[in-house]
């Protein structure tokens, strides 16, 4: 695993709060918050939603792969748990989508916990394979129980119910975007805090060398489980959001299978492993770029795959490698 971007710059300089930096952050936030309402185009808003959503999902993914070195190759299946969990809760039991967010998170967190247990004693690539099977098993199960999940026919999901006087009918895309901003803000904040805490340190140790870590008295099991569970919980929330935003779910490969996981993985890698914000930037870059060339069909995935290969070979730090030029 490549080191994080912090390697070449002294720590003090890294987190210094300079006027320039504050200004940069303010500008970015302003763009993030301001563009969709100002431009007022459903297309642009959708793009922003997709970008922010996938960027956040990728940042969560980075918690697993960039910080702890755990490759989850069934990630899309995890998202499916969150999505279907919430959708089915509202479909069959009339539970509000707001509660669904939490339900999705908890269910997925449980799945993450179990996955953590299964992969307890395993290393790197075994973890990837096990999680892959887990994810696929989830997808197949959803597919093959149409009586409950509507399988391939598609499960339509309820939009978010009105809250605080805000109307979440599907046309009100801006409200969905702002909701997402809030969610993403909370999640990113949580991730940033986590990563800089002692737990985050333990995660990084996991990534480096499990054997050495254990010899330092660190309980790798505990932290692996923490990592999987927390990341899955957060992913589940995003999955639930996705369900109620997108309106219809079906367990196809492109939605919740390998292509989706690859998409997210690519965003994470392009953003730079070990860089949460990199994932967000990459999300906007890749999704925005892709939306611009809409109707690409399979070219989209060719692009993603090629980008992944390119990053692996030639730009191993991803966008985060450019950080020292602009930050």
């Amino acid at each position: 695993m490549t080191a994080t971007t912090a390697s070449s710059v002294p720590a003090s300089q890294q987190s210094r709060v300079t006027p320039m930096r504050v200004a940069k952050v303010v500008v970015l936030l302003a763009l993030l918050i301001g563009i969709p309402p100002l431009v007022d185009s459903p297309f642009i808003t959708r793009v922003f939603i997709s970008a922010l959503m996938l960027g956040t999902i990728a940042a969560i993914y980075d918690l697993m792969i960039g910080y702890a070195g755990l490759i989850n190759f069934g990630y899309a299946g995890f998202l499916a748990v969150g999505a279907y969990g919430s959708a089915l809760a509202s479909f069959h039991y009339g539970i509000s989508p707001w509660a669904g967010l939490l339900i999705g998170g908890v269910l997925t967190g449980a799945v993450g916990f179990v996955a953590g247990i299964i992969t307890l004693r395993l290393k790197g690539l075994y973890v990837a394979l096990m999680t892959f099977f887990t994810g696929e098993a989830i997808r197949y199960t959803i597919s093959n129980t149409p009586d409950f999940t509507r399988g391939m026919q598609g499960l339509s999901t309820a939009p978010f119910t009105d809250i605080l006087g805000l109307d979440f009918a599907r046309e009100n895309l801006l409200n969905y975007y702002f909701l997402l901003l809030v969610l993403a803000g909370i999640i990113m904040g949580l991730l940033a805090w986590l990563v800089n805490s002692r737990i985050g340190l333990a995660f990084k140790a996991l990534r480096e060398d499990q054997l050495a870590t254990q010899s330092l008295g660190l309980n790798t099991t505990k932290y692996k489980l923490y990592n999987f569970t927390i990341a899955s919980f957060l992913a589940g929330i995003m999955g639930a959001y996705y369900a109620h935003y997108i309106g219809i779910l079906s367990p196809t490969r492109h939605e919740f299978g390998v292509p989706r996981t690859v998409e997210i993985l690519t965003i994470t890698y392009v953003g730079g492993r070990g860089s949460l914000w990199g994932a967000l930037f990459a999300g906007f870059l890749l999704i925005g770029f892709q939306e611009y060339f809409r109707g690409l069909g399979p070219w989209r995935l060719v692009l993603f795959g090629s980008l992944l290969i390119f990053v692996m070979l030639f730009a191993r730090r991803g966008l985060a490698g450019l950080k020292k030029y602009v930050w």
Partner: protein
């Protein structure tokens, strides 16, 4: 249901032959995968796409060029051999040079990227229609209640032949020995003047050829379409794991077993659940015997 039905010779023959056919395919794929992993340490997620390319070459050879099917199979193997070597030379070797110590983890992701690109390029170039042929050989073998198509017999025989050739290659030829040496101790092999880089390229080429051959051989069951490689590769990976990573004979045995188990499972569950069964099996075995069913001498190389 009546379980004694399963032991009836007619049914038994059908199921066994079908199982062996499947098993043969898995075995060809799994041995390539296992070889690549055993020698290079690379888990090639793009192996299914190599299979897919094999099906297209075969289809092209048969339907467009009108070649007799043995030539088609040979062509697929040869083409994929060079494709494999090309991939190794350009992508994998580059990664190895640039990524340093942990290149294997990244190699895995690299092959994922390759898989996606190949699959979708195929989609673009060939479209998603399934291109198949009805059958490579006509006729069935009948003896009493046992009815087996000649094609199935042919497939199993060819696969077995390839297996024997592979074994002979590794056991007796110079390059085969060099390959084995490299897998057991690459540093020592280097001090004996063996060019590791060339060995890797050769190994990847062989693995790819095996996959291409599998694709060609089973064209009448698995027609050519962009995502045809997905299923075979998952199952093959399962076989490689079950057989013990890097242990080719183990992978082959696991493959044959899996093929037969799957053939039988048709009686007990809908085909959609077969995959869950396989996945469940792999998960279980990994939990209890991470080194695989056949405890190979090789320690897990994650």
């Amino acid at each position: 249901m009546d379980y004694s039905m399963l032991l009836e010779p007619g049914i038994l023959a059908q199921v066994l032959s079908q199982g062996l056919v499947r098993g043969s395919m898995y075995a060809l794929m799994a041995s390539g995968l296992s070889l690549i992993f055993g020698i290079m340490g690379v888990k090639n997620f793009a192996h299914g796409e190599l299979f897919m390319l094999g099906t297209y070459v075969m289809f092209f050879a048969l339907a467009v060029l009108g070649l007799p099917f043995p030539l088609g199979i040979l062509l697929a193997a040869v083409v994929l051999f060079f494709v494999g070597m090309g991939i190794e030379r350009t992508l994998i070797e580059t990664l190895r040079k640039r990524a340093g110590r942990d290149w294997l983890l990244d190699a895995f992701v690299l092959t994922i990227g390759m898989m996606v690109v190949l699959q979708n390029l195929a989609q673009i170039v060939f479209g998603s229609d399934r291109r198949g042929v009805t059958g490579l050989i006509e006729g069935t073998f009948v003896s009493g209640s046992i009815v087996i198509s000649y094609e199935r017999i042919m497939i199993v025989c060819v696969a077995a032949l390839v297996g024997v050739l592979l074994w002979a290659f590794l056991a007796f030829t110079n390059f085969g020995k060099a390959i084995r040496a490299t897998s057991q101790d690459p540093d020592a092999a280097q001090t004996l003047g063996i060019d590791i880089a060339r060995i890797y390229t050769l190994t990847f080429g062989i693995g790819a050829a095996l996959a291409g051959l599998a694709g060609a051989l089973l064209i009448s069951i698995y027609p050519a379409y962009p995502t045809v490689g997905f299923q075979p590769v998952i199952k093959s990976i399962a076989c490689v794991i079950l057989g013990g990573l890097g242990y080719v004979p183990g992978a082959i045995v696991a493959a044959l077993l899996l093929g037969v188990i799957e053939a039988y499972s048709v009686f007990f569950m809908a085909s959609g659940w077969q995959n869950v069964l396989t996945a469940g099996l792999v998960v279980l075995i990994l939990i209890f015997r991470p080194a695989g069913l056949f405890n190979s001498a090789k320690v897990e190389r994650a």
